[in-house]
Symmetry: C2
């Protein structure tokens, strides 16, 4: 089991995840309808956040879901909210955020929150307990390493056919496994929203920013700050999915593991920093926002892939200085695609 996909700790991911927040903004109307239509039987109602990271981007969806469920089941119905992430996640930042002003706990009563530090590729909740599941921006991470791409940091943008094949195979396994274990945790009539990087018309939306990240890695190789072996090894164990890949397990009869797809589409996430840049013209600020955003989700994984004798924080610092310089030299809008799926348990 791969355990590399940790976000930057110390609350850094919370501070540098505006792209993810922009994607979640697009998901909220869909999520609201899910909460309005899910079966609600016995209290307490349980909402599970599969892949919470440090919690900041979970506050609004949890608040929306609590509000919709209580509008239907009564304003005083107890609600359990469970946040799940890998053991290496910065749970102190999560609990601090839950105690803070933006928390869905603030001003609410009878909300019972907890966290689970285990991989969601296992069964982590007792059978048949979950009413509503939320999963955003995590299923791009593979449960095992894909082969190293020789020509890119993002396997999906490699031109090597064996890399594409291995990535697709692992993603297919992971999607099925995720659906199977979630199905055991969901109640009858429960719903799960899962959103992750998507592909539309052959494009991921990461071609520009991912390309600059790879170019920055090559910059460090040229400057002698990374070896070729390290550049080869630095392939993020992550990838986006097409709608075809989302539907694949459901091909025969429209069901898989007692789940059916109620809704699926590909959305384009707006660049959260673009309008600010157009107003101020401040290329450096724009570039630093994007470099920090990439660092927040990719930095620790890249650090873990460096040679044993390398000072990882110095190398990662240098990498993101180079990325920021490249972005500042030629700013563009970063508009990644996001696949969203709503699943219903029979």
């Amino acid at each position: 089991m791969l355990k590399l996909s940790a976000m930057e700790g110390g609350g850094y991911y919370n501070q540098n995840s505006a792209m993810q927040a922009a994607g979640i903004e697009l998901l909220l109307p869909i999520w609201k309808r899910v909460a309005q239509t899910v079966a609600i039987d016995q209290a307490p109602l349980m909402i599970v956040d599969y892949g919470s990271s440090q919690g900041r981007n979970s506050m609004r969806p949890m608040r929306v879901a609590i509000g919709e469920l209580r509008a239907r089941a009564g304003s005083s119905v107890p609600v359990e909210v469970v946040h799940i992430d890998l053991p290496s996640n910065d749970f102190a930042a999560l609990f601090t955020a839950l105690d803070g002003p933006d928390s869905y706990m603030t001003g609410a009563v009878d909300i019972y929150t907890s966290a689970i530090g285990r991989s969601y590729f296992e069964r982590v909740i007792p059978p048949g307990r979950v009413h509503l599941g939320w999963n955003s921006w995590t299923m791009q991470w593979l449960s095992a390493n894909a082969p190293d791409a020789p020509d890119h940091v993002l396997a999906i943008l490699s031109t090597a056919p064996q890399v594409q094949k291995a990535l697709a195979a692992q993603q297919a396994l992971d999607w099925r496994r995720f659906l199977e274990v979630r199905s055991s945790e969901l109640r009858h009539g429960a719903k799960l929203l899962s959103a992750f990087p998507g592909i539309m018309g052959g494009e991921t939306g990461w071609e520009w920013l991912g390309g600059e990240l790879w170019a920055a890695i090559l910059d460090l190789c040229r400057d002698g700050m990374l070896s070729e072996a390290e550049a080869l090894r630095i392939t993020l164990p992550a990838g986006p999915r097409t709608l075809d890949a989302v539907y694949a397990p459901f091909a025969s009869g429209g069901q898989y593991a007692d789940l059916e797809i109620e809704h699926a589409e590909i959305l384009k996430v707006p660049d959260p920093y673009w309008s600010g840049y157009k107003q101020t013209g401040d290329r450096r600020a724009f570039a630093e926002c994007h470099a920090n955003m990439v660092r927040a989700w990719a930095g620790p994984t890249i650090a873990s892939m460096l040679a044993a004798n390398r000072n990882p924080s110095a190398a990662v610092d240098a990498l993101f200085v180079h990325l920021a310089e490249r972005v500042a030299a030629s700013p563009r809008q970063h508009e990644p695609f996001l696949a969203v799926t709503v699943l219903k348990k029979r």
Copy 2:
């Protein structure tokens, strides 16, 4: 709400809590009987660890409880284990320990573990859900600061009557509050074991080691490394209880908040390092074990009480070097008293 009582992070508390482990060893036969006699009705069964710190000392009691419950309810009955501590707790260390070889999860199936980063002076679990509660070595921590003791680091060993009075008043409030909120979380027939530093015959067992810690603080004052104002402020917001204090809320009719005391006694915890010292004669190793043990539970709180312009880690380092020197100069057995109470919900 006081939030100072964090244990040393980075897994340090896990590595330096052999005294607490020795106390838990004494509690296990009592805990086993509790698990054998508690009412078990509907599955999943829920065991709650109130004040987990980094989890190491929770592994055996949780394993014992799971074993006893499953011996009665069936080996495949799902069991939920919930670990509660303050948001500032090192939950990454907890989840890492839960994933490690000593975990009660290892080799077991259908155990569902989670963590809650909130104060247990609030209701943290939905009403009537808990079958078994475990609470060890935490209720010495006050929910609010007691007045600064001018003549000691441990308020209970101060000779100032107003310090004793304020400490006792806060401890009484905290005990009642703890019982009230736990009562709402426990099922009918549920049981809760609570163990915390005790007083027997006017003695705490901390007279020697606590006295050396205070003397080490005065050493730093003499050397100009701490100010008198800091020495005054360094009073740990913690204290032990007599059996009379444990029984006080139950004085009229034997019940409080639908709880009754099923068992209460004061135990003497053996010094976990003494036999090793008697074998090796290594005073320095003995002293360092004790200094590290005190640092693990008291270090972060002391650091938080230093002047704003003080380098806290340097000052705390120096303090525990002095403590180790004092212990090495004249080793004794440290045998603190531990009060244990078993409560039953009507």
